[in-house]
Structures are given as C-alpha cells and as structure tokens.
Amino acid sequence: MSSAKSRETRDVIMVNSEETQGAIQFEGVSFTLPSGKALLEDLSLAVHEGETLILLGRSGSGKTTTMKLINRLLDPTRGRVLVEGRATTDWDPIRLRRRIGYVIQEIGLFPHFTVAQNIGLVPRLERWDDDRIRERVDTLLELVGLDPRIFPHRYPQELSGGQRQRVGVARALAADPPIVLLDEPFGALDPITRREIQREFLALQRRLRKTVVFVTHDVREAFFLATRIGLLKDGKILLLGTPTDLLRSQEPEAHSFTACLRDPEPVPGAP
C-alpha cells in the first residue's frame, strides 16, 4: 500500500507544488469564524519533510488555528492545506489524524487511562495486536526517558508535570506518524524541567527526523528548537525563515520578540 500511495502522493506534489516541496503546504489559506472575524488571512507556507517549523506569535496571532487546519480539526474557509500532497478536505479526517501525532499541554492525557493505555491509544485504534502494542509502549517510554517497569500502570494524576509531558510526546509518536504537531506542549512546566525536556526533544528529533510543527510564544524555545521560524501576527505571517533571518529582520514584531532574548534568563522563583 505504501509504495502505491507514495507514488500517487509524489504525482500530486508535482502537480501542486511550485518551487518548494513540502510535507505540508498552505496555499492562500484563510479561516474566518461564522461571526465574520478572520483568524487567519491568506496564509501560504510549506513545511519541509524532517524539519522543525516553529510558529511564533503572541496569543491570538493564529498559531493554534494554523495547527488545527493541518489535522483538519478545522477546514479552511478559503484556500487549501495539503498534507503529503493531498488537500486535507480530500482526506478522510480519521485516517489523516492517525498519521499526525498531536501534543497539547498536559491536560490532553485521558485521566481514566493508564500511561500504557494513553500511549497505546492510536495503535489500539489501528487494531495492532496486544503484544505489539505492549512492545511499542515500552520502546516509547524508554525513548522519552521513563522506566517501562514503573510507569505503564500509573494514571496521569500520579505523574509530575514533566512526566506527563513525556507521556504526551510518547503518545503522539506511538503509531510512528510522519508528522507531529505540538501546541505549546511545555508551556505549563517549570523553567528547569522545560529546558531539560526541550533538550531531550531536540535529541529525539535529530534521531527521528519527523516533520514537526511546533507552536510557542516563547522566543527562547523557538530559537532553541527551530529549523525555521514562522512569525505570526493578527492572522498573517510576517516572516518565514531561519532564526538568523529573524534576528536580522527589520520587522517591528520580530524586534519585540528578539528583544526578549537579550533579557536575562528568568530565575525560577524570582518575581
């Protein structure tokens, strides 16, 4: 199935792509609420295979909306979003979402599922057999640095914030999806744990080479993890480039963010 599909996919990409090929492409995408409020206006960008694209912006800049257009939690009101060369509206949403890992703040773990059940969710939905799921859960726990002898039978409320976040990442990777979306995944962690887990994430990403879209408003995090950064404001993309491009940019919004980099690292517990 995979070879046939990838050939087909490539054909589609040939037809649709202009210059850059990408795992994900936005083509003139707008998203407007029924009330008429535009959350996203005429967005065009491509996410390359294996890169980490950071969407940076203030609250309400359209980062999360952009993310939800990728796994079809939302449909564009204008333009289209292509995933692996096919418009999301042509995908069966269930199939599409199972190919895309998704991490949100710790709250997204199911409180009535154990760690093993949380991580094994998508494989179970995909009807893997139990042994394979168990093996996969152990592998992933090790991958995110949790002891597979201790954690599988715990419930989310028995974990620390950092452990929960690791489980969240493991769950997103469970069915080995080519694309992973992360929506401010580390926002609720204390600065030390956050830095620790960012380091691990970076190491993991160097190994796995997933196509990652990562939403944050934390400019340090963006610089630390990004292959490229997309800067969003009021539903429009102001800049798309490497961290260096951002530093050199004359864009006032870019200045606002990079100014934060020059502030001293916040000390935990300090006001």
């Binding site: 796994n71 939690l73 949403p93 269930i94 199939r95 599409l96 979402r97 199972r98 895309i100 998704y102 949100i104 703040q105 709250i107 997204g108 773990l109 199911f110 409180p111 009535h112 599922f113 154990t114 059940q117 969710l121 998508v122 939905l125 769950r171 979306l181």
Partner: protein
C-alpha cells in the same frame, strides 16, 4: 398490634409485596436507563433538542400520579397481542414510573458528557478517534460518575413513587399504605412505609458503592453495566408480558372496586356471588384509586364495580346535584348506557350520603329526630366538618342555607378526627358518611334529612354491556344483591372490617350465608353465544 408483631404475623405477604415493589422499581429504572442514557447522549449531539426533551421530562415529573394513570389507562397499544400501553396493572405502573425516572437520568447523562474537559475531547479527535470511539472510550467513562448518580436518584425516586402502583392493582408496598390510610391505621401505614424507606436507603447505599467502584476506569466495565441493564430490561419485559398476557381471560370476570373499605366489601360480595352462582372464575382488581375504577371499566380492564348514583351524576357526568333518588338513578342509567355502554343494575339498597350526626344522649335528651330540630340549638353549638364536606358543591354552604343554621363555630378537620371530637364533646355535630361503622359503635344518632338537601348516593353494580352480552347470567346473579343491604347492614359490614380488623373475604362470606345467598340457585351457566336450539 405493634409494627414488629404485624411484620411477624404477615411476613409472607410482606415478602410478596416487597418483591413486587422491587420488581416495579428494577424494571422501570432499567427501562429508564436504556431510554434515558441514549436520550441524554442525543441531546449533547443536537443541543436544539435539549429544550423540548428536558421540558417534557420536567413536566412529567410534575404530573400527579393519579392524573398520569387517568391519562394512561384509556390508551390501547398492543404489540403481538400483548397490551403494552393502557389498562390497569403492573405494565401501566411501570410506564408511569419510567416517565418519572427519566428526568434525572437524561439530565445527568447530558451534564456528565457536557462537563468533560473540551481539551480532552479535542485530544481524542486529534488522535483520530471516530465519534463513537470518542463517546464510548472517553466521554462515557468520564461521565459515568454523573450518570450513575442520576441512576441512583432515579432509583430512590422510583422506590418512593412505586407505592402509587397499588392504586391501579399493580401491587407493591403501597397496598399497606393505602389500606392503612383507609382504615386510619398507623401500623399499616408504617408497615408499607418503613420497608419502602429501607429499600430506598438500601438502593442508595448499593448504588453508591457501585458508583465509587465505577469512578475508577474503564470502558470494559461500562459495557458490562450496559449489558446488565439490558438483561434486567429483557427479564422485566418477559415478566410484564406474562402479567399482561390475556391468557384465560375469556373465562374470567374482572371485578373492581375503589380504594375504600365499603367498596372492597361490595366488590368481594359480587365476586363471591359470581363465583358461586355463575360458575365463572373471578379476577379481583380492588383498591383502584380516585376515579380509576371508572377508567378501567371503560377500558375493559374490569367488567364490574360498585358505584354511587350521586357520584356518577356529579363527578362522571358532571351534572348538577339532584335530590330525587329515582330521577338520579334513571338519569345515570340512561346516560351510562348511551355514552359508555355500561349498565346500572339494581341498587344494593343503601344510600351512602352525608350523615349529620349528634351524640345519642343529646338526641334523646333534646328529642332530636330531624336536622330541622337542631336549628334552635345551633347558635350555641360547635360543628366539626371534614375538608371534603366544607368544599363540595353539595356540602357545607348549601347545607346551612337549606336549613337556616348558624353555628357558634364550624371547624374544618380531618374526617376521621370528627368522630373522636364528637365523642369527646369537643364538637356537638358532625357530618359523617351514613354507612360508617363508627355511627352505631359510638352510639351516634343520624338526623333525618327532612328537607332532602343531600343528593342520593345509592350504591349499585356497574357492568359493561359487552360483558352482559357474553354472560347474560350476570344480570340475574348480581341483582340478587338488589335491595339486599340496608344502611344498618352496610355500617355493620364496614365496622367488621375497619373496626374489628376482620378479613374482607370472611365478612363477605358470612353475610352471604346469613342472606341465604351462599347456595347456588338455578341459574344456568352461559358461556359465549348460545347454541342454536336442536
């Protein structure tokens, strides 16, 4: 008799009534769960439905049970020859209980699912869960605590409301409560109320335990719960089908009665007479509350019951009260035949109307015979009247006007207390019922209604014409009781049951023997259409 002695003496009956009660609660709650949970889920999917559905469930909660029965009994819905809606009996009681139990289940299911964190729901969707996977693996397990709490509330409500089932011959602990209310016997009321309360507490405790167990995960257990509910409902359905199945009904006459002692005695007299003289088997469906006996007769659920001419005229036909007994009887006889296909047979011979009562020694001392005689004493007298008498169109207001009475004081009190108040000299005149057993026992004197103010309430058997056509012998058999029971005799019968606490069957059998009605006379048994003459 103390409550404990009563329990010991009637433990077999108590057990049976408790089991009937439990069955009613289990079946109705089971059905309410199976209907209510999907409805609650549906409401979360299409919120526009929530207003009408919740509104309906809310309204159902406020409908008084007797009114609800009055609405349900005339319905006629059959599934495979089994009546599932309408009529009297357990199935109608279950329908009513289901309607009462729905609200808490629907509401808690709806609230439980709505209260699942939207972030969790979104995580599930983003993970590629389908709608039903999300529902059964995430939303339902997380809402289960709420849903079970709703089931718990519904069950406890059902244990309480199931007592009303006794009003439509559906059994349960309500039998004791209704009997106790009728006989003003606190032990009997408690005999029904205490086990019902214990049952409610027990159900609450057990379901509370289950709730705690289920608050822990998970989907598998949920499935088991649903299965258990399904099995419960299936078992209940079979039970109801057996109960409702017409069976040998072709051979049976169903005799009904209202829910007070005199009615039950009359019903029993008719039942025994039909058994011995017509050779037909009888199904006794006594104790029907309010006007449900009338509804049941029209619906064909019962064939016969005793009714009073005055009640037929004013309550059923909604005419103005008339004072002439013969006119009243002829009016109801004609109207019932025309409108309902029901025949009034010959009256039993007594008039159960309001009786204006004074103490016997007062009557002798002051030479009181007629109501008019008390007019000169009234300004110094205190009167005690029941709520019913104070409010009826043929009650207090018209009464004092008709006789030109002016009491020093007229107190409104519970009917059963008026007798005691009269005997103890707290009041000097009361309005009782003319057939009340206490009149003779307490040496009270009934003053004659010399201005014919009170409308007649002559008791007579009512029979469906359809039944009479099938069993013409019934007319002759039941007319054996025509004119056979005087007011004094009815008082005595009532006292035997209410005052002495004797068994209705025995009292009725003795009366029939005394009247020489215990030996079958020469009536031929007629079954179905008459065979053609040879």
């Amino acid at each position: 008799m103390s409550l404990w002695e009563f329990f010991l003496a009637s433990r077999a009956e108590l057990l049976q009534l408790s089991l009937e009660h439990l069955f009613l609660v289990a079946v109705s709650t089971g059905i309410a769960v199976v209907l209510g949970i999907p409805l609650g889920i549906l409401l979360t999917r299409s919120p526009s439905l929530s207003k009408p559905v919740m509104g309906f469930a809310n309204i159902m909660q406020t409908v008084p049970s007797l009114a609800l029965f009055g609405f349900l009994i005339p319905l006629n819905v059959y599934v495979l020859h089994v009546r599932v809606l309408g009529g009297i009996g357990a199935h109608t009681a279950v329908v009513a209980l289901v309607l009462y139990a729905l609200l808490p289940i629907i509401r808690n299911t709806f609230t439980g699912i709505e209260s699942v964190d939207p972030a969790i729901r979104e995580a599930g969707r983003a993970m590629g869960m389908t709608g039903s996977q999300l529902l059964f693996q995430v939303e339902m397990p997380l809402a289960l605590g709420f849903i079970l709490a709703g089931v718990r509330v519904a069950t406890v409500i059902s244990v309480g409301t199931a007592t009303i089932a006794a009003a439509i011959d559906a059994g349960g602990l309500g039998r004791y409560i209704f009997r106790g209310l009728r006989m003003n016997d606190n032990t009997l009321i408690l005999a029904g109320a205490v086990p019902a309360a214990l049952m409610a507490l027990g159900a609450d405790f057990i379901l509370g335990k289950i709730e705690r167990v289920y608050r822990a995960p998970v989907a598998l257990r949920l499935r088991r719960l649903i299965w258990a509910a399904m099995v419960l409902v299936a078992a209940g359905g079979v039970w109801l089908a057996v109960m409702a199945y017409p069976g040998k009904q072709g051979e049976r006459i169903a005799v009904g009665s209202k829910d007070f002692t005199e009615q039950i005695i009359l019903g029993e007299l008719m039942a025994q007479l039909i058994e011995s003289h017509a050779g037909l088997s009888v199904r006794r469906r006594f104790d029907l509350g309010g006007n449900l006996a009338h509804e049941a007769l029209l619906a064909g659920e019962i064939d016969v019951y005793p009714e009073y001419t005055g009640t037929g005229l004013t309550v059923i036909l909604r005419r103005k009260p008339l004072s002439d007994a013969k006119t009243v009887y002829e009016t109801v006889k004609e109207q019932y035949a025309d409108r309902f296909g029901v025949e009034w047979l010959t009256p039993f011979g007594f008039n159960n109307t309001f009786a204006i009562l004074v103490r016997g020694d007062d009557a002798r001392r002051l030479h009181l015979q007629r109501i008019s005689d008390i007019a000169r004493y009234a300004p110094a007298w205190r009167a005690g009247f029941g709520q019913d008498f104070m409010s009826r169109p043929d009650g207090y207001q018209g009464f004092i006007r008709a006789y030109g009475l002016k009491f020093k004081e007229a107190r409104e009190m519970d009917l059963s207390l008026t007798y005691r108040a009269l005997a103890q000299g707290q009041v000097d005149v009361i309005a009782g019922n003319s057939t009340d057993g206490l009149i003779a026992r307490q040496g009270l004197f009934q003053l004659a209604d010399d201005r014919s103010y009170f409308p007649p309430y002559d008791a007579a058997p009512l029979v469906r014409q359809e039944t009479l056509a099938r069993f013409p012998v019934l007319r002759d058999v039941l007319n054996l009781l025509g004119g056979a029971i005087s007011v004094a005799e009815m008082r005595e019968l009532n006292f035997q049951v209410d005052g002495e606490g004797r068994d209705v069957k025995q009292v009725a059998a003795e009366f029939l023997r005394a009247k020489g009605l215990d030996q079958p006379q020469k009536f031929t048994r007629v079954r179905g259409p008459q065979p053609a003459a040879p």
